[in-house]
């Protein structure tokens, strides 16, 4: 259906416009500027919640589209909310909403708060734009719009060697963006349009190796964003030294967008490339390596934010496994994993922020026995880690379950004969998921259980501005876990079409 109320455009424009406002009033309102950001993002969340419900009650396969005339060469500025992009956009919206509240408390003593929330809102607009658009030029625009505010946020309000780390983050992502741009420009040449949906039909005569080269170029950009091994080194520093509310957006919301884009662009535009066994198996193997490597590095960390950063790398490994599964079940799982990782990682970063803000420490060694002092934080952290480990009845279970089922299904019953390599890789990935439980439970134990350290005697539960957002996300993780149909029933038809393009009709 056509977006006659310009809802989709509003979700991008409103934060962008309000960001100017926050800059103006930031000096006077100080930390309460955050409430303006909160209202804005709440409005955006409301729009996406409404859209998701509409899609849920509409016949399967319904989408919401908007197209605006843009320029003769660039084509239309087209936006699409379907079963794939709506859940992701909704997750981003929810995260930005609750974290804006969290930021009010966390950043209370910082300077230049107006600027902080300006960049925050621009960052939001960038992320949402990336997810909604189906025009590759606009996609690139929003991709960069995500990068610049986050670079500034890390560089100004971060910790440690923040300028250097922000620069490293910028350079890495920018190189990736340029690779992405190279691919996009080449496509424009060949296809005559920036529209994603026109690529497949207009490149039927192009040789497979050329298409693969283009796909690889674009994937380099997206994989840097997702922090797939070995392109991951920017992430631990960036997420660890970013101001914690921004870490809680960088990790859960932003890096997964690379995965979303990979699904959208690869499956819609390059199905022949995916049908190539070497290509897909390489992706699957890379996913396994990322999964294991991230987990092992997480096990070895003492800095809690670095641990969570490596955990995110590991989770992106799962996402990539879903992307490479060539099965609609795997793609659905990847989408659900995005949601679950988004919720869980945001919770965990916010709890880490509580330690930094109230207890002034990030080191796990200096924490201990906090369960009795901070019961809500402890419960939320446990639920979050269990979600990462794929425990029912949380949404994380469904994400991982569907990813593995999809990959195994392709391995056994897919278009190629029993693909033992894939089966083995998937089996190893399931086995490696024990490591997620291990680092999660071990961290819970070191931080929340055991005797309370003497210097932590004064610790107590954080203020409602910080705990409230955490609890909202925790509740969502449980509710969606028990009843994921609200998402799975709209994701299904879309990814079904995407997956069948690879081998089938």
């Amino acid at each position: 259906m056509i977006d006659t109320n310009n809802l989709l455009l509003q979700t991008i424009l409103v934060p962008a416009i309000v960001s100017v406002l926050t800059l103006a009033v930031g000096g006077k309102l100080k930390k309460n500027t955050g409430w303006i950001a909160f209202i804005t993002t709440l409005y955006v969340t409301g729009i996406f919640a409404y859209i998701t419900l509409q899609l849920f009650s509409a016949p399967p396969g319904t989408t919401l589209e908007a197209a605006y005339e843009w320029g003769p060469y660039i084509g239309q500025f087209s936006l699409l909310a379907d079963g794939l992009s709506a859940p992701i956009a909704l997750t981003i919206a929810i995260l930005t909403t609750v974290i804006s509240v969290y930021s009010i408390a966390y950043m209370e003593h910082e300077h230049g708060i107006g600027g902080y929330f300006t960049l925050y809102l621009l960052y939001t607009a960038g992320m949402i734009g990336t997810v909604l658009t189906t025009n590759l030029a606009a996609f690139f625009f929003f991709f960069e719009l995500m990068l610049l505010p986050s670079w500034a946020l890390i560089g100004i309000w971060g910790t440690g060697e923040k300028e250097k780390i922000a620069f490293k983050y910028f350079m890495f992502t920018e190189v990736g963006a340029l690779a992405l741009l190279a691919g996009i420009v080449t496509i424009r040449f060949m296809v005559g349009s920036f529209d994603i949906f026109k690529i497949a039909s207009r490149t039927t005569e192009v040789s497979l190796s050329v298409l693969t080269a283009i796909a690889v170029a674009m994937l380099i950009g997206l994989f840097i964003k997702m922090a797939i091994f070995p392109l991951h080194t920017w992430l631990p520093d960036a997420h660890a030294e970013a101001p914690t509310p921004i870490s809680a957006l960088l990790s859960p919301a932003m890096i997964g967008i690379g995965g979303y884009a990979a699904i959208r662009i690869l499956y819609t535009g390059f199905p022949r490339v995916l049908a190539n066994w070497q290509f897909t198996t390489t992706i699957t193997a890379l996913a396994l390596v990322t999964l294991v490597y991230g987990g092992m590095m997480a096990l070895a960390q003492d800095d809690i934010k670095r641990l969570l950063a490596y955990s995110s790398i590991s989770q992106m490994g799962y996402l990539l496994l879903g992307i490479g599964s060539l099965s609609m079940i795997g793609l659905a799982g990847a989408t659900l994993l995005y949601v679950s990782h988004g919720l869980s990682k945001a919770i965990l970063f916010m709890v880490a922020g509580i330690f930094i803000h109230n207890l002034k420490t990030r080191s796990i060694k200096s924490l201990g026995g906090l369960g009795s002092k901070m019961p809500y934080a402890a419960t939320a952290s446990l639920i979050a880690f269990l979600g990462l480990a794929g425990t029912p009845p949380l949404i994380g279970f469904w994400g991982e379950f569907f990813i593995f089922t999809g990959s195994m299904y392709t391995g056994f019953a897919g278009a190629l004969e029993p693909d033992i390599t894939r089966v083995v890789i998937t089996g190893l990935a399931v086995a490696a998921s024990v490591m997620t439980a291990a680092y999660g439970l071990w961290t819970i134990r070191r931080v929340f259980f055991g005797p309370v350290r003497e210097n932590l005697g004064e610790a107590k539960e954080a203020s409602w501005l910080m705990i409230g957002p955490i609890l909202v996300l925790t509740a969502l993780a449980v509710i969606l876990g028990v009843y994921p149909t609200i998402l799975s029933s709209i994701i299904g038809p879309v990814v079904s079409g995407l997956a069948s393009a690879v081998f089938g009709a």
């Binding site: 299904y409 929340f448 038809p493």
Partner: protein
Amino acid sequence: MSEVQWIWPAWLCWAFPFLGAILTPLLAKIHPKVRDYGAVFFSMLGAAMTAMMIPRIFEPGQINNQLTWITLPGAPVLSELKAGVIVDPLSIIMANVVAIISFLIMVYSIGYMKGDPSLTRYWFFMNLFIGNMLLLVMSDNFIQFLFGWEGVGLCSYGLIGFWYKDSKNDYLKCWVGEGKEAYPPSHSGMKAQIVTRIGDAALLIGLFMIAAYSGTLNFIDLQNGAINKVPLWVLIPAAILIFGGPVGKSAQLPLMEWLPDAMAGPTTVSALIHAATMVKAGVYLVGRLFPILYLATWSSGTPNELINFFYLVAWIGVITAFVSATQAMASGEIKKVLAYSTVSQLGYMMLALGVAGSTAEFFLGYAGGLFHLMSHAIFKAALFLTAGAVIHASESRFMRDMGGLRKTMPITFWSMALTAFSLMGIPVVFSGFWSKDMILETPLVAGQYPIFILAILTVGLTCFYTVRMLGLTFFGEKSHRIKKLESEGHKIHEVSPVMWVPYALLAAATVGFGVTGYFLKDWFEELAHEYLSSLIGPLSGEFASKGMPLDQATMITIVSSLAMLAVGALPAYYIYVKRARDPTKMTAEGTTLGRVWKFLNNRWYLNRLCYVVFVYPVIGVSGWILKNIETQVIDRFNYALAGTVTWFSNGFRKTHTGILTYNVVGMLVGFTILLILLARIAMG
């Protein structure tokens, strides 16, 4: 339809405990006593619901009721998952065992946990556990089953680590182990979760393999033929991997080491979760899968290679039974003896199901496994509850701090003794005798004599460690500790009725089922025969079992178990009850017996092996990779890249001299080149 009357208890029996768990924090705000009695009330409702289903046991078929749960439109498999319940003899028996014993243990908890500051959390997890356990039992499909399975694992984690402060003051109360292997509660909880998760990972892989072909994970659909869509070369590894889940959850080798350390939790938790119910979930899953896999093995009349799955189950069962029984003989903590005993008895149940699947007379082993599950739940729960009473009295978990309690705690003594006799399998009046003998007959009838020999030897070991436990606890002189407590004014006395009534009832039940055992045994066999036949259907082909006829097997079993009773119990009686010899001197350093004791006391070094082979290396390798690859190689590479670029631009910068003469010359040269190029283009 008259089926409705069986359906709504099937849903409510687990819904009520869940409701109780959610309401607990709210009730706690009203008044602590409201919270306590409220929690017990909801578990009672659960038991009432399961009891309402009992009359249905006598009809063998299955009732299935489903609700749409999750849709994934367009999926080639699992596009629609329905939540559902199965009401059949297996689920009814298991549900009642769980719910009724849970209720009794909740009552006991009122006395046992009195005064604990975190009771709200306790009741929450206990009810959440009961709900998840019943959910697992009643589920009609693997995914819903997994929800319950992981749910009980989570509650187990939370309850083992209940006293998570790990206070050293509670060393004698809730730590477990000694010396280098002393573990606090939080460690034990984490260990339990991670070890069972390894089993769960295997279970999941097996599930994925099956789902890829069968398209469904519903037990009834699989039974009705969907399993045949799975080719054998996939089904065999899948079945073995799925068995990994029960190996973890039911603490069989090689994943048994979490259970002894789970004793760090409150004794009520040990009784409920780690004796009577959760650990049985693995056995239950094997039982639930039994008709499915049996049909896949035997449908053509002669068994195919899937029979190896059943052999594996039987052998893992019997070896676990033997090994853990030896470990029980040398343990100094009363709860650990009972923990090893539980592992051992679970091994018997696995043995029964495994042997049943590998023979034509499947119903004997199946019935035996099921009967022993019920029998064991009753007497093991009572044993743990009585152990809780004596630990409470002597304020220590070590049997060396007990002794001579027979006169001061008579009800506890008799409850423990009677249920211990059931564990040993003392003939006729104890249910343990009948159920265990059914299990022992099975390998004889199936012709698997090595299994029988190991199993019967384990009977001897069982008798030994049981009598040892009774002797150390109740007989002999009072220990130093008790004497000290009494001199300080704490008189050792019997526990309050809210604590002894539950275990006295369980002791009475074990005797009751024993006295009726002869008829019960036949009833179970008939039930298994009818129930499984209705599921598996008539099997074609002629196959005679390779073993001996049933009455001969029964005779041999009775005689050999009596012999083993004597071999095991009499020396233990001599040493530990009559205290005619000093066991510490007998197992002194350097003696053969001493070396054996040390080996057994160190759990065959299996526990240490887990840490040395798995835990420390993984952490160590991760740290090594972090230091040497992540920081040295990959990070360095980035800076090397940046350095190269900087070097290049520094070099190139030297061409920007800023001296006007060079700039002008450069401009002229460039201009000339451009002119030449333009001229060439213009001229074609």
